[in-house]
Subunit: 225 residues, 2 copies
DNA sequence: CTGTATCCGTGTTGATACTG
DNA sequence: CAGTATCAACACGGATACAG
């Protein structure tokens, strides 16, 4: 029942790969970054993973101290998986990986995207200079999940939950909101298509859409001789 | 001849894993972070990799634009692998992975370590506050390779090559220098063991050894019920 | 509904041997 | 020294069956 293949290497990065280097492991953590999740939710947001692999990854991450498995108190009594405090500290890994990979010549932003991915990308890509001086609360409804984003001090904080008072409310699919923020799609177009709805301060929405510039693509190397 | 298993996911981190998520890929990049390397050098510093896997990874990384293969001009005429400019930009990935993993309850710093790993760890772990105001040039001979480390403005720059003038010269194995910096081993002990030699400013050596504090370990989670 | 266990076809990995 | 060829062991993904 032990892992057979580690890297026998004291390098910190190599040890990180011993923990999260197996296929799907890092994406499981990504889906847990905004709070506990049930098995079925994880599966739904990780297209292509099979149930047995998800079970194995959760077991491995639990053994390594990244994930804990909790049983909610009755009457819910469902089991959920949650990151440990150290597990939550993995967020910078997604930010550096994401920032680097968006400069890849082969990155395709039109593929499906999960709520967690999109929200993590906001925290990765926010331009502190452009967001400075902007304070606002934005309620996001992505699919059937509610999140609250608070802009302050050039940074963005995001948590699950419903906002009592918000300057702006956006209801959309993750793909539609991603198209607005990263694809340059106009909110009006997306509203006309019925994939996005705004309520509240529409000028704030337009400014919000400018806060997350994508880095330039790296040059493609010369083709191999 | 294409990859069959990607993640169909627009998430930047997922795309990064499409590029560098295969076993060994990231460690190959690590070994290239300080300049071009030959096939055999890579193999020697990646204990456990087999030749065919190294070939496949280099091919894949070349396809993705991370690595280029160059033929040195005669009379050397040997082939070397080198990171592209974008490939060199992967360094923050090692830093975040390394910083996170050193807090793992299961990290074992006594395993073998390559020159590249140790030097990357210096750039990851340097404490800017402790290094501020310190300017120095240190020549490092690790095994049979020469590097120059320059401390300035609280940061450390490291490059391959021999230093004409240096305040301090350290000759050691990577393991021995790691023991001095991270394991608290005294330089005198290591010199007596014949695994390390100092020349020049010994007070600088002692101060150098304090510049790279390891983060605290994360709490081990409760054992599963 | 939430997982877990098992089987199976396929692709990936790794050790050894081998060729230029 | 730099890689290729072969083959055995393993990991993955899909399907299905099963337990609480």
């Amino acid at each position: 029942m032990e892992r057979k293949r580690w890297y026998e290497d004291a390098c910190g990065a190599a040890h990180a790969l011993d923990i999260v280097g197996e296929r799907w492991a890092l994406l499981v953590i990504r889906e847990l970054m905004f709070g506990p999740r049930r098995f079925g939710e994880l599966r739904a947001n990780l297209p292509g993973i099979s149930a047995n692999i998800l079970t194995q990854r959760l077991e491995g991450l639990e053994r390594e101290g990244v994930v804990v498995r909790r049983k909610l108190p009755p009457p819910a009594s469902v089991q959920v998986y949650e990151l440990t405090p150290w597990g939550y500290e993995a967020e910078p890994i997604f930010q550096t990986l994401g920032r680097w990979a968006t400069r890849s010549p082969t990155h395709d932003p039109t593929l499906p995207i999960s709520n967690a991915s999109l929200l993590l990308s906001f925290r990765t890509m926010i331009d502190a200079a452009k967001a400075r001086g902007l304070g606002a609360t934005i309620a996001l409804r992505l699919g059937n999940e509610d999140y609250v984003a608070r802009l302050a001090d050039g940074a963005i904080a995001i948590a699950r939950g419903e906002a009592e008072a918000a300057d702006l409310r956006i209801a959309a699919t993750a793909a539609a909101l991603g198209a607005a923020i990263y694809g340059g799609a106009a909110f009006e177009t997306l509203e006309a298509q019925g994939v996005l709805a705004l309520e509240g301060d529409r000028a704030l929405a337009r400014r919000f859409a400018t806060l997350f510039p994508l880095p330039e693509k790296a040059d493609a190397p010369p083709p191999p001789a």
